[in-house]
């Protein structure tokens, strides 16, 4: 992922079949071939590998107008990692300077400090109160998850497994309810939970910025901390954090980096929490919960085969809980990390299709394992109508 040149062979695999048109959320709004993986990859090759076209404002726009949602890669018969190619191209073109210095500094501080601590926290709260932040960003929680829950949460009965919990930034600062549900549901099912100290952001926002130096900074903090834990698995509630550790982290490090073997070993142990619970099975049978749900599958799901179905299986185990399927459960909501801030109209257009689909189900609550989707959908649906599936299980247990 370091260098766009390393993707020469992958780019050459594009047969130009155009099947990426079926799932690219941006293309399905713009209907412009230039904004399709097939052309993006071609352009990146022409501009950055072969040098037959110059770097222009339009080329940068083509690079930027990508959600990195991975839908094209999952549709691609050759499995071309388009998101990585775009990230590598951003890295080459912007060299870590995609934003102005102030915003870059803010992002770096945010990622290192896992959100809102000290001055950053105060600044964040003030900005939110003043209406300076996008409406899609909810107010930061009064106390972050890490402040509420620290160290170790013992299993309720005899521990049958021990997991480390990687707490994503969004859960930590915006949705501590998810974090609370994760640790309590796991403990309730006789799984001991460690919350390793010193975690920082998984690095995904830096990857999207094409700032590989910053991604590596995150890796250098997170990987040793998680690798040191003597646990059966590492769980996260966020599909993007999961994808980062499982599918991207090792690749973001140079081939001879001493941290790379650790990152590779770590990858195999990473699970999204509902996926993990399905694998190990619930010990405690959930009591009935008479509510209706629909399920929006986050785009960053290709890193495991089962994560997309996991919430469905969990819900099926809760008596009286009703799942009303979306017509297009796997279509993107338009959030794409911070994409919705850069391309407001486009993101809102993508979202409007998702909202129409959601409304048609008549379900009370939308479930999704991605905090960005949650934030982006909640402003239109109401705060309490979008949540993480693990929260439903916690509710059924009365936790």
């Amino acid at each position: 992922m370091l260098d766009v040149n390393t993707y020469r062979d992958a780019m050459a695999k594009c047969s130009h079949c155009g099947l990426c048109q079926a799932t690219c959320p941006v293309y399905l709004e713009d209907f412009l071939q230039t904004h399709l993986a097939r052309a993006r990859v071609d352009l990146i090759r022409a501009v950055l590998v072969e040098g037959t076209l110059p770097v222009t404002k339009r080329f940068r726009e083509v690079l930027d107008r990508c959600l990195l949602c991975t839908n094209c890669s999952r549709t691609c018969p050759a499995g071309i990692p388009v998101d990585e190619i775009v990230a590598a191209a951003r890295n080459r073109v912007y060299q870590g300077k995609r934003r102005d210095p102030i915003r870059r500094q803010l992002l770096r501080r945010f990622m290192h400090q896992r959100g809102m601590k000290g001055l950053m926290g105060m600044a964040g709260s003030v900005a939110h109160k003043m209406g300076w932040t996008p409406e899609e960003l909810p107010a930061p929680a009064s106390r972050s998850f890490e402040k509420r829950t620290k160290g170790r949460v013992p299993a309720k009965g005899k521990a049958r497994a021990k997991v480390a919990y990687f707490v994503g930034c969004a859960t930590n600062t915006l949705y501590p309810d998810t974090g609370k549900a994760v640790v309590h549901v796991l403990a309730h099912n006789d799984i001991e939970v460690l919350i390793p100290k010193g975690q920082v952001c998984c690095g995904m926002p830096a990857l999207a910025e094409g700032d590989l130096t910053l991604v590596q900074e995150m890796m250098r903090k997170n990987v040793p901390i998680l690798a040191d834990c003597d646990v059966d698995a590492i769980v996260t509630d966020c599909t993007s954090c999961g994808m980062m550790f499982r599918a991207k982290a090792a690749k973001a490090l140079p081939a001879d980096d001493p941290l790379r073997p650790q990152a590779e070993a770590l990858a195999a142990k990473v699970w999204e929490v509902t996926d993990y619970l399905n694998q190990v099975g619930l010990i405690a049978e959930p009591p009935p919960l008479s509510e209706s749900y629909t399920y929006h599958i986050p785009c960053h799901r290709g890193w495991t085969r089962t994560v997309d179905d996991a919430p469905r299986r969990l819900l099926a185990g809760i008596p009286e809980a009703q799942l009303v399927e979306l017509e297009y459960p796997d279509k993107c909501c338009g959030a794409g990390g911070t994409f919705f801030m850069d391309f407001k109209e486009l993101a809102a257009d993508i979202r409007s299709r998702k909202l129409a689909d959601i409304r048609q189900t008549g379900a009370q609550t939308v479930l999704t394992q991605c905090p960005a989707c949650r934030s982006f959908l909640r402003t239109q649906l109401g705060c309490d109508r979008v949540t993480h599936p693990i929260v439903v299980l916690a509710k059924a247990y009365g936790l």
Binding site: G18, Q33, A46, T56
Partner: protein
């Protein structure tokens, strides 16, 4: 070309006229990019027939080449703008205008995606059979322009068999609507079907009227393992001649079964030289009778194994595995070229044998074959373990040999992909000089200035007007 952009922006909203080099580059062609790509001078994304007409009037006046395109998923270079000019991207004309259950017909704009149409039609208990494997992206306008088909061809025929009427913008901007929504018509020359397979060389298809069928209530899948290619060919002939018409019969070579077994539980036996993947459709009673018939024939033919998959969901895994074959191969190969030579059904074994012999002589590329056995519509495919000029040369030479072989067996150069520029030379081989001249005269009647998709169907392409 600033003047061109300005002129076009007067006819179509500015934001739907693209002239940045990056946009022009993106519209260089389709899945035949490896042979040739073109660079248009402008890309226009019209939203209605009037806009298309305005663009055509302008192009006609200034004799600017126009290349219409749908999804650009073609395998013959039909939408490659070989002579620059204007590319008309029809994807924004993507409305399903009507699905009429009482008339069993549908009316759509040219840019409607086939799979979306399938879905909409199915919601009303109806069925539109053509199913090229690019159905998730290809457009109905493109399907008409190439006479696309797919595995359903054996029972249900190709796009042309469902075409009732069209709306077309002619090169001078005038709009015609040949055909209509009546099931039959004997009103003079059949202009509607002349546009089927015209590949954008006669005008721009803007709307399509299509015949629909009732949705078959049930399906059943069967897999037959044959000890030889001849036995597979004979089995297909016996099944069809015996009166059972499966919705799909796919021919799958042994090497592909090994890959497909990754998806299938329990795995299929691998001793067969050739396999038939069959889909039966109809009412439960019809399917039961068809299954009995096929089992009887297969036993009589002494096939190695036959598996009937009762569960429709499980059956889907077989078809998914079939669709993913190319994908599975692309994970180990660097590139693939898919051809579509069709031969008379009885010549399939001969065709396959000769292809396999040919394959054994190759050193830089791999030649494989599968296809729609029911109608002889075969897909020889060339895979590149490495992409280099030697491999390209061997691939191109092989394609020529495969086409000559198909023609020598009484076949055609294209069963369903169309000619584009990629097979323009081969069309000469198949049709001969007299027919080609006739085609050129038809072309000239529609397109006197030769502006519509020049460079396609025959080699001298653009020369249509001056060669007369």
């Amino acid at each position: 070309m600033k003047g061109l952009a300005k002129d076009l922006a007067r006819r179509v909203a500015r934001e739907r006229v693209k002239t940045d080099p990056e946009d022009l580059f993106a519209y260089g062609g389709d899945a035949t990019y490896y042979v040739k790509r073109g660079n248009p001078d402008a890309v226009v994304l019209p939203e209605n027939t009037e806009e298309v007409s305005e663009v055509m009037k302008y192009a006609f006046r200034h004799a600017i080449p126009v290349t219409p395109r749908g999804a650009g998923s073609g395998l013959s270079g039909g939408c490659t703008p070989l002579h620059g000019g204007i590319v008309l991207d029809m994807k924004r004309m993507g409305r399903i205008l009507d699905i009429n259950r009482r008339n069993m017909s549908g009316r759509v704009e040219a840019g409607v995606v086939l799979a979306d149409f399938h879905k909409a039609v199915k919601k009303q208990g109806l069925f539109y059979p053509p199913n090229p494997q690019s159905m998730n992206v290809c457009t109905l306008g493109g399907n008409v322009a190439t006479r696309a088909c797919g595995p359903h061809g054996v029972k249900y025929g190709a796009t042309g068999d469902y075409l009732m009427g069209l709306e077309v913008v002619l090169p001078d901007g005038s709009v015609i609507a040949p055909g209509g929504l009546a099931a039959r018509s004997s009103a003079g020359y059949d202009l509607t079907h002349l546009f089927a397979g015209s590949e954008g060389t006669l005008g721009v298809i803007t709307k399509v009227n299509l015949r629909l069928l009732a949705l078959p209530p049930a399906h059943r899948t069967a897999v037959v393992a044959c000890e030889s290619i001849e036995q597979a060919g004979d089995t297909v002939s016996e099944i069809l001649a015996g009166g059972t018409l499966p919705a799909m019969i796919e021919f799958i070579p042994q090497m592909a079964i090994v890959a497909m077994n990754n998806y299938i539980t329990p795995p299929l036996i691998t001793e067969g030289q050739a396999y038939l993947l069959i889909d039966l459709d109809g009412t439960q009673d019809e399917i039961k009778a068809q299954t009995g018939h096929i089992l009887g024939i297969c036993r009589r033919m002494g096939v190695l194994d036959i598996r009937v998959v009762e569960d429709e969901k499980e059956a889907q895994t077989y078809w998914t595995a079939r669709s993913n074959l190319g994908a599975m191969l692309l994970t180990v190969m660097k590139k693939a070229i898919n051809e579509d030579v069709a031969v008379p059904r009885e010549r399939i074994p001969e065709f396959v044998r000769e292809i396999q012999r040919m394959a054994s002589t190759l050193s830089k590329v791999v030649l494989g074959i599968g296809g729609h056995a029911g109608d002889g519509n075969m897909h020889p495919s060339i895979f590149f373990p490495e992409v280099n000029s030697e491999a390209e040369n061997e691939a191109q030479a092989t394609i020529r040999k495969v086409v000559r072989l198909g023609l020598s067996l009484g076949g055609t150069v294209s069963g369903e992909h169309g000619i584009g520029f990629h097979k323009a030379e081969f069309l000469h081989w198949e049709l001969g000089e007299i027919q080609i001249r006739l085609l050129k005269r038809i072309k000239k009647a529609f397109d006197p200035k030769g502006i519509m998709n020049p460079g396609k169907l025959w080699k001298d392409g653009r020369a249509a007007p001056c060669s007369m």
